[in-house]
């Protein structure tokens, strides 16, 4: 066996992609089987089969082959979809996933799947003629590249759309060890370069199984210069030569075909008339016009966007470097202004300022683009939810429809990593506690099937994720009682809570509304963990609920964690940065408006009591308390910060202004510092600490206790 390690990474990536497609499509299959889905699913299984076999993972190849057979039977209408079948397909897919993970870890997989393969074959059992290997291939014994009707049509459509269609003959070097791998790489390279393989000789199955000599032929449609494609293909090792010939359909008068759109005026040519009576094996007869439309989209969709895979660490490094640049840009601009003040009307100063301005704009753009490069569509998290909801619903005997919106919404990958677990937990809650059992729903006059709506969208500088269900909702009265029962609140305190505040009780540590702890929801990860996870990345989670109608959770997240806007404030000769996301407003107050509740200083702001925290006192070991600043009869500056429903006022020496800052971690050596989340470097090179507002709130409630 040759060394395949260089392909392993590629294989694993691709396998993950195909597994993902399979998972989504099997779900779709269950909900609304369509020929389109079946085709895609078949393609994914087929690709996975081919690459796993080529890499020598025969068990995985076997299993995907068995799945492929089932899909094929579905596609040909020999079978129809059933829940049992879908469950078995999912079992198989899970096994393939496990195999892939094993391979990723140790390079091999020892998972045995004979039983699964058998159970998949049992599904096929009904149609005995359909032996496992019988993937129907019409015209198996073609010599040379001859086109079937639908292939020829696809080629013609491609020409009509202004694409070039070429016949490529690929010759492999004589001592090529794994011909199928090379063939696969050729196909993938064409795919990755925007080409579409319309037909091949021998067919793709034969290519997979190395049933060819040293050359094979492909019919390829592409909108790029074919020479470019050829030179890319020649870069694949062990590809000796690629012959290119442009393809023209000689027998069909193309002009005539192009004018058939209007119908009657066209002279009856062979091709269109032949088309109608021949029933396509996989597609129900559709009017020719609609069909060519379909062909067009079909030939467009497989063209992937031109992408390169980049290591995340490299992007992180780039972002760090840009961070440096942002700091230097500010510094250069500042120096420019200082020079200007010192040497007015000097030409050199002018051109320095001009250059500094230019560097500033370029840096801004660079930063923006690198930030964008780190963005991923939230799809990456959402993708696994349909399957999860389906399994959960089945387990709890509920009927649930998951509607997802805005999967294409992009956010920074660091945020994506953090948001995944909280979302899983909330969705579980919705299925487990939110949606009622079907019978109960029916008796309430609701549709038997509950709906969970998961949506993501951009809102200003934030991303808003909402999870909404039409289940039983939460009753503030019950929540108050539960809080008292669990000793979280005194009865008095509970009675004083507004309905909204009562709903927020679910985020309190140790609070779980489930009457019984279930396997799924009662795992000790409560809503308090959800909230602290969201808050850790500077997000906010809110809940809204109407008893009997449903519940809605809203999560507001920053787009990125690397660069934020912050309010800079001065405290005792040092500069602190307060993330703007938590700043509500700034106030200038007279010291005599400060009142005391017990020993705690407060002010009254628009009728509400606002507790004050002196940053100087908080950060000072020798507790200079708030009264110190009262001695000076000067006005005080207060920054009002919010965390969920709560607000406090931070007393600072002075306000400096708003600025974009690059977040840097405080040295690991210093460890966790209460009230500080990190540091940033200011334009003048000084270091400013970034406030961790949540810590300050904890501290206030500690006072209160």
């Amino acid at each position: 066996m040759m060394d395949t390690s260089e392909y392993i990474a590629l294989f694993l990536e691709e396998a993950a992609e195909q597994i993902n497609i399979l998972e989504q499509d099997i779900l779709l299959l269950e909900q609304s089987p369509s020929q389109e889905v079946l085709n895609e699913i078949f393609r994914a299984a087929h690709t996975l089969k081919g690459s796993s076999r080529a890499m020598g993972f025969t068990a995985m190849g076997e299993l995907t082959h068995a799945m492929e057979d089932v899909f094929d039977a579905l596609r040909n209408g020999e079978l129809s979809v059933s829940t049992g079948m879908v469950n078995r397909l999912f079992d198989a897919l899970d096994t393939i996933k496990a195999m892939r993970d094993q391979i990723a870890e140790g390079g091999t997989s020892d998972i045995v799947c004979d039983e699964l393969v058998q159970s998949l074959r049992d599904i096929l059992g009904g149609s005995a003629s359909n032996t496992p290997t019988a993937v129907p291939e019409p015209e198996q014994t073609r010599s040379g590249l001859t086109l079937q009707e639908h292939e020829r049509e696809a080629a013609l459509t491609a020409l009509d759309n202004g694409l070039g269609v070429y016949r490529l003959t690929v010759h492999l070097a004589e001592d090529t060890l794994m011909k199928s791998v090379r063939a696969l790489m050729v196909l993938q390279t064409i795919d990755a370069n925007g080409g579409v393989v319309i037909a091949s000789h021998p067919d793709e199955d034969a290519l997979d199984n190395e049933q060819f000599d040293l050359s094979f032929e492909l019919l390829v449609a592409t909108d790029k210069p074919v020479e470019q494609l050829r030179s890319v293909l020649l870069q694949i090792s062990e590809i000796r030569e690629v012959e290119v010939a442009s393809w023209q359909e000689a027998t069909t008068p193309r002009l005539a075909q192009a004018t058939t759109g209007t119908g009657a005026a066209a002279p009856p040519s062979e091709a269109p008339s032949a088309e109608e009576p021949v029933p396509q094996p996989t597609q129900p007869a559709t009017p020719p016009a609609a069909k060519s439309e379909e062909e067009k989209t079909a030939s467009r969709t497989p063209t992937p966007s031109q992408t390169v895979r980049v290591d995340v660490a490299r992007l992180d490094t780039l972002l760090n470097l840009v961070g440096e640049l942002v700091i230097d840009r500010t510094r250069v601009a500042q120096l420019g202004r200082e020079f200007e003040a010192r040497f007015q009307h000097d030409e050199l100063v002018d051109s320095l300022l001009e250059t500094a301005g230019h560097i500033g704009r370029i840096t801004d753009e660079l930063q923006e683009h690198i930030m964008k490069a780190r963005m991923l569509p939230i799809e990456h998290v959402f993708n696994r939810f349909p399957r999860m909801i389906r399994d959960l619903a089945q387990k709890f005997g509920k009927e649930v429809r998951l509607v997802m919106e805005g999967q294409e919404t992009e956010l920074d990958r660091s945020v994506i990593e953090i948001i995944s677990d909280p979302l899983i937990h909330m969705l579980r809650n919705s299925v487990d506690h939110g949606i009622e059992p079907p019978d109960q729903r029916e008796s309430l006059g609701k549709p038997r099937q509950g709906t969970i709506r998961l949506s993501a969208r951009h809102e200003e500088n934030h991303i808003l994720i909402e999870i909404e269900d039409d289940g039983k909702g939460m009753d503030p009265t019950h929540l108050r009682e539960a809080a008292v029962r669990k000793g979280i609140l005194t009865r008095d305190a509970a009675e004083r809570l507004s309905d909204r505040e009562a709903l927020n009780l679910i985020f309190a540590p140790g609070f779980s509304t489930a009457k019984e702890v279930t396997e799924v929801s009662g795992r000790g990860v409560g809503m308090d963990i959800v909230r602290s996870n969201v808050q850790r990345v500077g997000g906010i989670v809110e809940v809204d609920s109407t008893p009997g109608k449903g519940t809605r959770f809203s999560i507001r997240l920053p787009l990125t964690l690397a660069i934020i806007r912050a309010l800079l404030v001065g405290v005792a000769g040092q500069v602190y940065a307060i993330p703007l996301s938590s700043v509500l407003e700034t106030l200038k107050i007279q010291p005599d408006t400060v009142q005391f509740v017990g020993r705690r200083p407060v002010i009254v702001l628009r009728g509400r009591t606002l507790p004050l925290v002196s940053l100087q006192a908080y950060f000072s070991k020798h507790g200079a308390d708030i009264t110190d600043s009262r001695r000076a009869e000067e006005p005080m500056f207060v920054v009002v910060v919010g965390l969920g429903e709560r607000q406090i006022g931070l007393v600072v020496s002075h306000l400096i202004g708003e600025q974009e800052i690059v977040i840097k971690s405080l040295s690991r050596y210093l460890g966790e510092i209460s009230g500080v989340s990190g540091a940033t470097i200011l334009g003048d090179g000084r270091v400013a600490l970034i406030l961790e507002v949540a810590d300050l709130f904890d501290n206030v409630s500690a006072y209160a206790a």
């Binding site: 840097k664 971690s665 405080l666 040295s667 050596y669 210093l670 540091a679 090179g685 270091v687």
Partner: protein
């Protein structure tokens, strides 16, 4: 000393610096750079011997007061004061010293294990005693100094 039988004895290159009246030294391989004093941003709620953080060309580096760390009397900052930035286990840490004197070559056979000095808590941070021209140099156990408390 007398055990040296080879013509050349292994040497250790160290950077010598002053803390109060004593001369200390650090193995040169730990030293990232030596810089003049610069503005240090105080970090609240950190260990008492930590003076804060500095900006070292875009990196945030914590700085400790080495005298305080070793339990020595506090020294005033002077024009000779320096920050020695060391790298231990991938972490950069700055240490404030009173003055950096020179780079010394200490023959291994001139280094003795630390004796039970009557001295203070600093003893625990000394890995050896070197003698150069009849001067006593205290070799700092960098790993220990850099240990988090």
């Amino acid at each position: 000393m007398s055990t040296a039988t080879m013509t050349s004895v292994a040497e250790r290159q160290v950077v010598a610096f002053r803390l109060g009246n004593e001369t200390y030294a650090i193995d040169i391989s730990y030293i990232h750079e030596i810089i003049r004093m610069k503005e240090i941003t105080f970090v609240p709620n950190a260990p008492h011997y930590m003076r804060g953080v500095i900006n070292l060309r875009g990196r945030i580096v914590p700085v400790m007061d080495l005298s305080a760390r070793l339990g020595l009397p506090a020294q005033d900052e002077t024009a000779q004061s320096r920050i020695i930035v060391i790298e231990v286990n991938g972490e950069s840490i700055g240490m404030i010293v009173d003055a950096v004197s020179e780079v010394l070559r200490l023959p291994e056979d001139q280094i003795e294990p630390p004796t039970q000095m009557s001295d203070t808590e600093s003893t625990g941070y000394i890995s050896g005693l070197g003698k150069v021209n009849d001067r006593l140099v205290l070799l700092l156990d960098v790993e220990k100094v850099a240990e988090r408390v």
